[in-house]
């Protein structure tokens, strides 16, 4: 599969414009016929299905390759805040958490609910994660508490309620670190807990990072997952060393920096961050209110910058984009064209599937043009649209 990597790498001219990779819409699915939004798109471990959470309080299942609709999981009575496949007991169950105060487990084969954990009558669950030293702990971020259940018997194991004073928007088990959990909240704090043994607030709070403003999303990246990226509700980006609770970079004006990295409209918000281990590169995905997306590389070493857009997805969405799912190359499947990007979903209720504008067999890597040169003719296809 790496055979084509043997192509000559020509030196790229410096202006970043030449190395922007543009993607065109290949397929678009309307998930509903009302005003409902797509919130989140996640793949099953084997990529046979992808789950899509909607503002209808349901989760729909589609095939990631052809976009065929498989069915819908209904049951939540309020906004679904997060869905996940990983860490759950078996490979065909899906988990979802909601502002109705429950975490529900669904069998994706039958679309039936198989389990329901309730955090309490007036609770909301904003985030959850499955893991822990024995892999059986569901951690949930609620209205200032972090609550733990054992999924084997749905028993509540612990409740950390002193470390946050506002909605806990993210809980994440640290990858490759048994027994460490990170939580992030609207109160602006990222807390790291040691959850081995008996969990309590007093002894288990290991470190606290004060981001100073309401946190939307965090993610681990880098070698040994020692770094944490953090996106806030005021659309700023910061990078931290979570173990030392140390700030590495703070992009307070991230939207302006990103906007300078392309010639399209101002970047209005950020959807997510993606990290590639292969090329050790972090990107922040910025979007416009009109639905255009860009992948902006983040350089967090000396001379921290947000670089010029390396990939642009335009012409698919007509409103704010809420989720981006890049497809793993190895799961593209034999029948798939190369140059696949993956799926995106947004407030227009659409799921969009993207392919690179260049001819399919040319470029296998959607990651960065700078790494691989393609044939000259692709350069002449000037799709640059000044506004």
């Amino acid at each position: 599969m790496e055979a084509t990597m043997g192509m000559d790498v020509e030196a790229q001219p410096s202006p970043a414009i030449n190395s922007i990779k543009r993607f065109g819409l290949k397929n678009s699915i309307q998930t509903n016929f009302g005003d409902d939004y797509v919130f989140e798109i996640i793949p099953k471990d084997d990529w046979s299905t992808m789950a899509v959470s909607l503002s209808t309080n349901t989760v729909k299942l589609y095939s990631p390759v052809a976009g065929h609709y498989h069915g819908e999981c209904q049951g939540h009575s309020d906004t679904i805040n997060q869905i996940l496949f990983s860490g759950l007991p078996s490979s065909h169950v899906l988990g979802s958490c909601s502002s109705d105060g429950t975490i529900r487990i669904w069998d994706t084969r039958t679309l039936q609910q198989v389990s329901c954990i309730s955090a309490g009558p007036s609770q909301e669950v904003f985030s959850f994660s499955v893991g822990g030293p024995s892999g059986n702990l569901i951690a949930a971020g609620c209205k200032s508490q972090v609550i733990f259940w054992d999924w084997r018997n749905n028993k509540q194991i612990a409740c950390l309620e002193d470390s946050h004073v506002d909605d806990v928007t993210q809980v994440r088990y640290v990858p490759n670190q048994q027994g460490k959990l990170v939580s992030a909240s609207v109160d602006g704090l990222i807390c790291t807990f040691d959850i081995a043994g008996d969990i309590n607030d007093e002894d288990h709070l290991e470190s606290v990072i004060n981001v100073e403003t309401s946190i939307s999303k965090v993610g681990f990246f880098g070698e040994s997952c020692l770094k944490l990226w953090c996106l806030t509700h005021i659309e700023t980006l910061s990078i931290w060393d979570w173990k030392d609770a140390r700030n590495e970079v703070n992009f307070t004006d991230a939207r302006s920096l990103a906007s300078e990295g392309w010639s399209l409209d101002n970047v209005d918000y950020f959807v997510d961050c993606h990290y590639s281990e292969e090329v050790q590169q972090l990107w922040v995905i910025g979007g416009t209110n009109a639905g255009v997306l860009g992948y902006f590389p983040v350089n967090y070493s000396a001379g921290a910058t947000v670089g010029s857009a390396e990939a642009i997805l335009q012409g698919g969405h007509t409103s704010v984009v809420r989720s981006v799912l890049p497809m793993s190359r190895t799961h593209g499947g034999p029948g798939c064209d190369q140059g696949i990007f993956g799926w995106t979903g947004g407030e227009d209720g659409r799921l969009c599937y993207w392919l690179s504008d260049d001819s399919p067999q040319m470029n296998r890597s959607w990651i960065s043009n700078a790494l691989i040169e393609k044939s000259e003719r692709t350069r002449k296809k000037n799709r640059h649209q000044p506004y």
Partner: protein, 216 residues
């Protein structure tokens, strides 16, 4: 491009200041910007919440305590800022009641890098629980400017309803300063809304005890 009419804001601010002078309250009233949103669904749309730094300090009487290393303690002494060093924090012995008492004494805390790392171990989650976990101060910035920065930060948060308030000043400030605070906060908040001004139904300015003035 701002749709906020400068005249409307100026008149409102003058009005508020006059009302306050005439009423002669026994405390310094806070001036609040009240925002009413439209075409926004709190259940579907992205959360509207965060902190913003205003150009002029709206709460000058904010009590701040420096939890500092030797260098910061020295700086704090010079500028008349309350402080505690690691020894003093150790003396609290992680006692919940004492930590709670400390938290109540101050509006906010600053901490040196060397100290902030030790806080969970020295104090437990007491400052977290009070919503007052310290903000980091490095040695690359002046302590005084960090204090001012902290005093200039205001929080905004939209809950389940479509209106919210943000503190933008107080009646003892200059009118021009209040005007600038209003302008900056409005433009910043509008930039976070997906339909920008189309998401704003109305804007009012109001002092704590005074009547409200519509500015949009």
């Amino acid at each position: 491009m701002s749709k906020l009419q400068s005249d409307a804001v100026r008149e409102a601010v003058s009005g508020i200041m006059n009302d306050s002078k005439n009423a002669n309250r026994k405390f310094v009233e806070t001036i609040e910007l009240q925002i009413g949103l439209k075409n926004y669904d709190p259940q579907k749309d992205k959360r509207f919440s965060g902190s913003v730094k205003l150009p002029h300090i709206p709460r000058p009487k904010m009590k701040i305590c420096m939890l500092g290393d030797a260098q910061h303690v020295e700086e704090a002494e010079k500028i008349g800022l309350d402080w505690m060093d690691v020894e003093a924090l150790k003396k609290l012995n992680k006692n919940k009641k004492l930590v709670k008492k400390l938290a109540k004494k101050f509006h906010a805390f600053l901490a040196s890098e060397a100290v902030i790392k030790q806080i969970p171990r020295l104090l437990g989650p007491g400052l977290n629980k009070a919503g007052k976990f310290p903000t980091l101060v490095t040695h690359q910035e002046s302590l005084e400017s960090k204090v001012n920065e902290t005093k200039a930060m205001v929080k905004f948060q939209l809950k389940k309803v479509l209106c919210m308030g943000v503190a933008v000043g107080n009646v003892s400030m200059e009118e021009k300063q209040i005007f600038q605070n209003v302008q900056l906060s409005v433009n910043f908040l509008v930039s976070l809304l997906k339909k920008n001004w189309q998401n704003v139904r109305c804007l009012y300015l109001k002092s704590t005890m005074g009547k409200s003035y519509r500015v949009f």
